[in-house]
């Protein structure tokens, strides 16, 4: 009995290792703002959102399964919140049941009986919610959950549960059996009920009590501890079984809380983005082998959340390409656009909506980033070596069908060398079936691809008006030789570059 709201027929495993490079990916794409918005101030919700978002899906069918549940949750939020609250309450109440002497079997059994008695009430209520919402949902995930609750938590089952909890208080003594273990010590203990179901428990004991083939031990004064210890061994097995049952019921409530929590977190994010006047859409996940790549009004939700103001959406028509190469003015929105592409892929792979009016792309096998770093991290390595080491690490992780985002890679060396390293690398990646999105101010690098005659490259350029102002729009277009750093310099310094400086490095 499992919620199965995140996978059609599997559990979500938060403890599974994250894909390599996840931490870097999160930093480079600014995912923290997104996850904060999903948490909405609730630490647990944020943790849930983080775990699910960072454990990506790679199958389109798995993505559409979650998208359907997400739509249901947005449509019937009050029901989903009701179940989530109930699961949360069950988890919280278990923590409040104190156990005395839980280091001995009798204490442990006692606590398990107490907790399960509490859970019985929650299970009754859960069943009632399911009954009240039969037929309400349209997604496979939530329909299945309602059906499961109704069939597994039948009246008969819940009654049986209460009956067992009564018997386990052992009001009429403990009947148990053992064999001879090592050194004749009692071992392989079992607890028993009647073998004759026609007679009830109490009658059976009375009969048994009077049998003459039993040998008696009358406990000596002062031996009570010894009796307690032996009795503890006798019921250890059943105490363990019941504790395990308790843990499983608790874990069911936890899973329910966790899985619904993800959709409530998604709803939080949805509220924020829509509240700020931006569009969202359920993306169309294409198989990994497809080369469809289309977006309308694609924006970076992290930037929107951080700035709280307006953002510029961009369109992308890049069907049939494997490399998106963005060039153009500094401060022109190139990095933001690259981030928007990456975030859209991350959100799609989590089963979330995308921050765009529409978005369709192949589901990447993995998403990796290689960004220019301000700080040199590893002692003893030069900046270029540090970049190369990181890139080599990324290549170790890459598989065909992955997406890699390069932001001004190898700009720590001179342009000619940087372009030589990057162009060979990018060509090798694309030829190996890796999709690449690359932002560069290196005309050398961009021009290399512009003149290569390849038809699998989409060129975009950050727009800059005649007067030098930036629109933050990416327009299709081959790279232009002039860098716009000059504009920036003029604006910040209030004067033009000197002629000497302009000649700059050759190339």
């Amino acid at each position: 009995m499992k919620p199965h709201l995140l996978f059609a027929d599997d559990d979500f495993r938060p403890e599974d290792p994250l894909p390599p490079g996840t931490e870097t990916l999160g930093e480079d794409l600014g995912l923290a703002a997104l996850l904060d918005a999903m948490g909405g101030g609730d630490g647990h919700l944020r943790a849930v959102a983080t775990a699910v978002t960072l454990h990506p899906l790679t199958e389109p069918s798995a993505i559409t399964y979650r998208q359907a549940v997400l739509s249901d949750c947005l449509d019937h939020r009050e029901v989903v919140e009701q179940i989530h609250e109930l699961a949360e309450a069950a988890v919280a109440e278990e923590k409040k049941v104190w156990g005395v002497f839980t280091n001995v079997p009798s204490g442990r059994l006692h606590r398990a009986v107490g907790v399960l008695a509490l859970f019985t009430a929650h299970l009754h209520r859960l069943r009632a919610i399911a009954d009240a919402n039969t037929g309400r949902f349209s997604s496979e995930g939530l329909r299945q959950l309602v059906a499961t609750l109704q069939s597994e938590l039948s009246d008969e089952y819940l009654e049986g549960m209460e009956r067992h909890l009564q018997l386990l208080r052992f009001r009429s003594g403990v009947l148990s059996s053992a064999g001879l273990g090592l050194g004749a010590k009692a071992g392989d203990w079992r607890v028993h009920l009647s073998t004759q179901p026609a007679i009830n428990w109490w009658q059976r004991l009375r009969l048994w009590w009077r049998r003459s083939d039993a040998l008696r031990i009358v406990v000596r004064p002062g031996d009570d501890d010894l009796v307690a210890e032996l009795r503890g061994q006798a019921i250890n097995e059943v105490a363990a079984a019941l504790s395990e049952a308790m843990e499983h019921v608790l874990s069911f409530f936890s899973s329910l809380r966790f899985e619904l929590g993800f959709y409530l977190a998604a709803a939080n994010l949805h509220d924020r983005l829509v509240g700020l006047g931006q569009p969202t859409c359920l993306p169309t996940p294409a198989p990994g082998t497809s080369t469809v790549l289309q977006a309308r009004d694609l924006y970076d939700p992290g930037l929107l959340l951080r700035s709280g103001g307006t953002v510029v959406g961009n369109d992308l028509d890049a069907d049939g390409t494997s490399l998106v190469l963005v060039t153009g003015a500094n401060q022109g929105g190139k990095s933001t656009f690259l981030r928007a592409m990456g975030v859209a892929q991350v959100m799609m792979r989590a089963g979330l909506f995308a921050a765009a009016r529409s978005f369709s792309a192949p589901v990447a096998r993995g998403v990796f980033t290689h960004y220019e770093r301000e700080e040199t991290s590893k002692a003893g390595l030069g900046k270029l070596e540090e970049e190369l080491a990181r890139m080599s690490q990324v290549v170790d992780w890459l598989t065909p069908g992955s997406l890699v985002l390069l932001n001004e890679s190898f700009s720590s060396t001179n342009e000619a060398e940087g372009a030589a390293i990057a162009s060979g690398l990018i060509e090798a990646l694309v030829e190996s079936g890796v999709r690449v999105a690359c932002v560069t101010h290196s005309f050398e690098l961009a021009d290399h691809f512009a003149r290569s005659g390849r038809d699998d490259v989409a060129f975009l350029r950050a727009e800059r008006r005649e007067d030098g102002t930036r629109t933050y729009r990416m327009l299709p277009g081959a790279p232009a030789p002039t860098s716009h750093g000059e504009d920036l310099y003029r604006r910040i310094f209030g004067r033009a570059l000197a002629d000497d400086a302009r000649r700059g490095p050759p190339g």
Binding site: H192, N236, L429
Partner: protein, 522 residues
Amino acid sequence: MSGVPMGSASVLFPSPPSPATEIDPPTVPSSFTDLDFDQIVKAVVAGHDEYRLRPYFGLPLESVDAVVYRQEVFAALDGTPLTETMDNFSDRMRSVRAMLTLAEEMRHRYQRRCWLLTAAATYVGAVTGLLGELEQAPVTARALVGWRERLARYVGSEAFETLRQDMTEARGAIARVRYTLLFYARVIRVRRFEGETDYGEEIASFFARFQQRGGTDHHLEMSGRPTMNRLEQQVLDRVVALFPDAFGALDRFCEAHPVWLDQLVVRFDREIQFYLAYLEVVRSLRASGLPVCYPVLTSSKDEAVHSTYDLALALRRLAQSEEAGGPGAVVTNDYRLSGPERILVVTGPNQGGKTTFARAFGQLHWLAALGCPVPGVHARLFLADKVLSHFGLGENLADMRGRLEDDLVRVRETLEQASSGSVVVLNEIFSSTTLRDATVLSRSVLADLSALDALGVCVTFVDELASFDHKTVSMVAGVDAADPTVRTFKLERRPADGRAYAVVLAERYGLSHDRVKERLAR
């Protein structure tokens, strides 16, 4: 055991030395500590204390045949399922000993007898299991074939068969005992079990629908003490009364078989540990990428060794790496002696790996003479009658004699013990005197060694010695060609060349076009 003559009763010696030698071996020469061989032995026998293996490491073998006798066993166990067979056997024999000790401590007659029964069952299982697996295994090692024959004879004997039958019968009877207890108020009632159903199982299956992934084991660890308290003994008394047949069978077994451990089995259990203990070390060396090989031993003094290293140093690094993570690099070295060549003269910078090499050279010959696999990819070695050493002295010498005098006295002693069949390791001799003295004295010592025709290595700061005569070979501890302050710890007949630092940085990181395609094609 009589009749057809069989091979040696020992899996260590084709013809065993006298028992006295084995227990109290001749005192080991000072080279044992000079070469850090004591550290190696310590690491090998660690965790095998109860077998007293140390003496075996002080008894070098005197014939190539005796060495091969052991190498055969090593090879049979090295990385084969037979190791597991032997480990299993040892584990069971260890349990047997523990149980016999425990039985002695039991107060209740039937507790004691139950332990004796379990010990006997474990022993019978160990012996028959070992024989069964040896019969399945493709064993050709002479020592193991001989042992298999002896063991088969023992297992086929009437005494063993009776032991097995009586044990099996008593075990079956005891295993069938199952009793029921009712705890109610201050009375416990004990009765024979009558097939009542398991309520714990019923609970588990009732709640099974909530089964989630994972979960913890909720069984509480019950008291592990093997003895019984008053109440448990009272219960046992009643159980004995309820099951007279089962406990009768137990009594019959114990009275018929007061003693059953066979001395040959006990001896094998100890001797085989020599191999198992050493192979444990071999495994951990290989796991961290260090080569180990079976040396080819000859009576010729042509030697060729590829990629050897100081085993004591490697084991220290391994031990450290378990704490620190990532084993420190161990540098390997090659050397060759051919034709008239007998003595490696090692010179080079301080801390350049010279002494380490000298130790490795000595260890190689010690280990080879014990029949053990040695550090390296390949080794052809001379079987030495002795491994002798003379190491420069530390600062804490009691200055009874002058240092130089002491050096000279000990060198003379060393040379007196040496024969043409010996290996001599001289490390930093005469380092406490002037260059002129050292040169003259060292030349004289080398002349003696050369005349003896012994094999040896001589670490010295006197460069002149490197070209002493046709029997000496010069080895130099290397430095980095680009940065002479960096030691390579490689000893070579010729120093290596430098390298170029170029713009092939990307290539070095595997990021050239072709390398990236290769890497992604995996």
